[in-house]
């Protein structure tokens, strides 16, 4: 298959060999699960249960609330202890409403919706409905509700579903293992998704550093007539939606457009498996494969984890994490730092990493020596060192002019910087500042509009009063008539 070069990119030390040969094992069900109402991009789910309810495995706990939202289901059977505020797996460490489920140890399934027998004959909308009903979100880490993304074909003619098995983040091997062990399910799920999208073809893109996954997927794809495998070079951030699209199709997504506008939709391989389970088995999304890795973990591996398991318990299952300098959810490049180990595994948790100081190689920032490495590494064609210099001087308008809003925070620039300058941190700061400024500007405009409206209203009132007063002073016809009637 003909491939195309991508802009920039780096070759980070992948450190995947820590877990790539570890087969997926299921984590035993813990006594308590913590299910935040927001595990996806969009509106938080609305609880349909209350404290004290008894629920079965797979039962709905919180329904989708809004156009972009996703429901949450019970990963096991048991009793709802409470819906309480619990620290969320977000760097802010802020609490979020969370359903606390106590397992009854029976792991009894509820009555699941029936399988869709011939999904390729079913109307695409029924597939999307099932995906929405089962709470599936983008499992590569973006956690965008999948049913919405499967609806991109309703207004456009789509040509291809690009299934993302690149897994370019260091350490992570959950997609690699999934493709090796569940290739048939992934391919089937992908074909169902393509049907829902109205896309005639599926291309599975896998980085060449996963030969066994490529082999397994090629074998599974051989039985189909519309699935091909693309062996893309191992180069971070190949798994970025726009980068992968460019590498496989040669199309560069224009600014402010979607890959779907060019006929290409990208979904993650783990999402495809979840769609398979939802459509063929009626199962909602209640567990996921998590790579637990890092130098501080004695028994790293790929674990099928029920959603809601606390990170501390998951790490304990893998032998603990003594001596870790950093805890990260996701990959080390774009993953989120964990504010606490008392946070649960959620739908987007592709990895839990406990990294030692030797692995993070953190160091005090030095002055920029203008080496230009960050420019060569940037997959977005930006000049990171210059943007950081502007941001340091609080020149946000200048930073915007040279493209800080086009930054995808992939971290390539920071990884290669010989001066250890935390470039991404500058960009996140700038984006935060700009968002705040934007909010404030809109708020000001709103306030201004309200004030103007109020002034106009007062003006109208005053005018009405003046008119009334004027009318009161003027000789009024009725009064004159009355006067006339009385006078004669």
């Amino acid at each position: 298959m003909k491939l195309f070069p991508i802009m920039g990119g780096i070759h980070p030390e992948h450190r995947k060999d820590l877990t790539s040969e570890k087969a997926i094992v299921a984590m035993p069900m813990p006594a308590t699960l913590f299910l935040p109402l927001q595990q996806h991009i969009g509106e938080p789910a609305a609880p349909t249960v209350e404290a004290g309810y008894l629920v079965k495995k797979g039962e709905l706990l919180a329904r989708s609330d809004g156009a972009i939202s996703a429901p949450i289901h019970a990963p096991t059977s048991g009793r709802i202890r409470a819906i309480a505020e619990i620290t969320a797996p977000h760097p802010s460490g802020l609490p979020m409403p969370t359903i606390i489920l106590e397992s009854d140890g029976k792991d009894e399934w509820t009555d699941l919706p029936p399988p869709i027998d011939d999904p390729f004959a079913a109307p695409p909308q029924s597939i999307r409905d099932r995906v929405a009903e089962c709470g599936i979100v983008g499992m590569g880490g973006a956690t965008f509700p999948s049913a919405v993304k499967l609806g991109l074909g309703t207004q456009r003619k789509l040509e291809v579903l690009l299934l993302n098995g690149a897994e370019c983040e260091p350490y992570l091997t959950c997609d690699d293992r999934l493709m090796r062990e569940y290739a048939d399910e992934v391919i089937d799920g992908a074909r169902i998704m393509a049907h829902a999208l109205g896309a005639p073809r599926v291309i599975v893109a896998i980085e060449t550093n996963k030969p066994q996954a490529i082999e397994a997927m090629a074998k599974a794809a051989a039985a189909t007539d519309n699935v091909t495998i693309a062996k893309v070079p191992a180069r971070y951030p190949m798994g970025g939606e726009r980068q992968l699209t460019q590498a496989v199709t040669g199309l560069e997504t224009p600014a402010r457009k979607l890959t779907a506008d060019m006929g290409v939709v990208v979904h993650n391989v783990a999402t495809a498996r979840a769609v398979h389970d939802a459509v063929r088995l009626g199962r909602p999304l209640i567990s996921r494969i998590v790579t637990v890795s890092g130098g501080a973990v004695p028994n790293p591996g790929n674990i099928e984890v029920p959603l809601g398991v606390k990170v501390s318990e998951l790490l304990a299952f893998c032998g603990g994490a003594d001596g870790a300098a950093r805890f990260v959810s996701g990959g080390p490049m774009m993953g989120q730092p964990l504010p606490s180990l008392d946070v649960p595994v959620v739908k987007g948790s592709s990895g839990i990493l406990a990294l030692t100081r030797a692995e993070t190689r953190e160091s005090e920032p030095q002055p920029c020596i203008r080496c230009g490495s960050c420019i060569a590494a940037c997959p977005c064609g930006l000049v990171p060192m210059q943007m950081a210099a502007f941001i340091r001087a609080e020149k946000m308008a200048e930073a915007v002019r040279i493209g800080v809003q086009d930054c995808v925070s992939c971290g390539s620039c920071t990884y290669v910087c010989p001066s250890h300058i935390p470039l991404v941190q500058y960009f996140r700061y700038a984006k935060g500042r700009l968002a705040t400024q934007d909010r404030e500007r809109r708020k000001n405009e709103q306030t201004k509009a309200l004030v103007e409206a109020r002034n106009a209203r007062l003006e109208r009132l005053a005018m009405a009063r003046r008119d009334a007063a004027a009318r009161a002073r003027a000789p009024q016809p009725e009064t004159a008539q009355e006067a006339g009637r009385i006078a004669p």
Binding site: T249, P332, Q336, L338, E359, I369, G372
Partner: protein
């Protein structure tokens, strides 16, 4: 248990560091430098040591005044490169105080007065060289033919000390012009360039450095080797060296074809003076050159063009240091003019036209 979150990702980092970069450059300079020190003997060794020591001392003093850690500043290796390149740009038998004055201007003024590492507009080593070249033209143009270490007529250890630290030697009987100076002088006397070049040793010998000149004007093959090593290690890109040497070659070839009496040939320009040292090691200085590859190519072309113009039309036989400094001043403009194209946008920043998958 709460863990610390005070820093955004990524939570892994490449093995590269300032120190690693700088020491790679130094390693690339070692073969040529050793050969040069051998070629010019004890005085060159003393001058080299003197320059390095003066630069390091100056760095330590400046960093201390600024409240930083001298050990860290010296440890990252950047001042060692400055000292090293400065030493290579001096006549090997120059007296010690020339080295000290040049070092003070290089490190104290050009680098630290502008804010230290990463902040200087001009290449420190070239500022040092130009200050002494303009201030002490006699000492700075007193070149001796190579007298390899331990060869007949080469100064011994004590004699060498006398050359560098003593009252100097009378170079009148020894001194000779560098090849570029020779051609220029001959041209001034009315001898056409193509004839004067004939009188110089063959290109091969010139290339190895058996001719009078600064230390860094010799051992072209070894410098080239070091430069290619830097490219292989991805410390530098090809843009500046190719831009600069290509321009010199092109202009030299073109103009000597048009008027061989007035102009030396392209190859002669390449292997004369500090062309190779400058193109691979000096013009490529990160801090004072543009950051994008387009800017670097333009910068290299500018350096080549100015070097050729100064060599050909100005009073100085070797214009490389001036060319670099002039182009250094252009670097911020080149940074503005040559920004990479943003993903999904045209060079002007407008969104690209929409493509369709077929």
């Amino acid at each position: 248990m709460n863990t610390v979150v005070e820093k955004s990702g990524p939570y892994t980092h490449g093995a590269n560091s300032i120190q690693r970069t700088m020491f790679t450059v130094l390693a690339a300079l070692v073969p040529a430098t050793l050969f040069n020190l051998y070629l010019f003997g004890w005085p060159a060794i003393f001058l080299f040591a003197m320059t390095m020591a003066a630069c390091v001392a100056c760095e330590a003093a400046c960093v201390r005044i600024g409240g930083g850690s001298p050990a860290n500043a010296i440890g990252n290796g950047s001042v060692l490169i400055t000292g090293w390149l400065l030493a290579l740009s001096l006549p090997p038998w120059a007296p010690w105080w020339v080295a000290v004055v040049a070092s003070v201007f290089a490190v104290g003024i050009a680098k630290h007065a502008f804010g230290g590492l990463g902040q200087n507009l001009f290449n420190p080593a070239m500022v040092g060289r130009v200050v002494v070249l303009v201030s002490f033209p006699v000492q700075m143009t007193a070149f001796v033919p190579p007298k390899p270490l331990f060869s007949a007529g080469a100064p011994g250890f004590i004699e060498g000390l006398g050359v560098t630290f003593g009252r100097g030697v009378n170079l009148d009987g020894l001194s000779a012009a560098s090849q570029l100076g020779f051609v220029k002088n001959e041209l001034a006397r009315g001898v056409p360039a193509h004839q004067s070049v004939e009188q110089l040793p063959g290109l091969g010998e010139l290339m190895w450095g058996f001719h009078p000149g600064s230390m860094g004007e010799t051992a072209v093959p070894l410098l080239l080797l070091g430069g290619l090593f830097l490219m292989w290690r991805k410390v530098i890109t090809w843009h500046i060296p190719v831009g600069m040497l290509g321009t010199l070659l092109l202009l030299g070839t073109l103009f000597s074809a048009i008027d061989p009496g007035r102009h030396a040939g392209g190859l002669f320009h390449l292997i004369s003076g500090a062309s190779v040292l400058g193109a691979f090691f000096i013009a490529t200085d990160y801090v004072t050159s543009p950051v994008s590859n387009g800017g670097r190519l333009a910068f290299g072309i500018g350096c080549g063009l100015l070097t050729w113009i100064i060599r050909t039309y100005a009073g100085y036989p070797e214009g490389f240091a001036f060319a670099i400094l002039l182009m250094n001043a252009m670097a911020p403009l080149l940074d503005r003019a040559f920004r990479p194209r943003m993903f999904g946008r045209t060079l002007k920043g407008e969104p690209l036209p929409l493509g369709k998958f077929k």
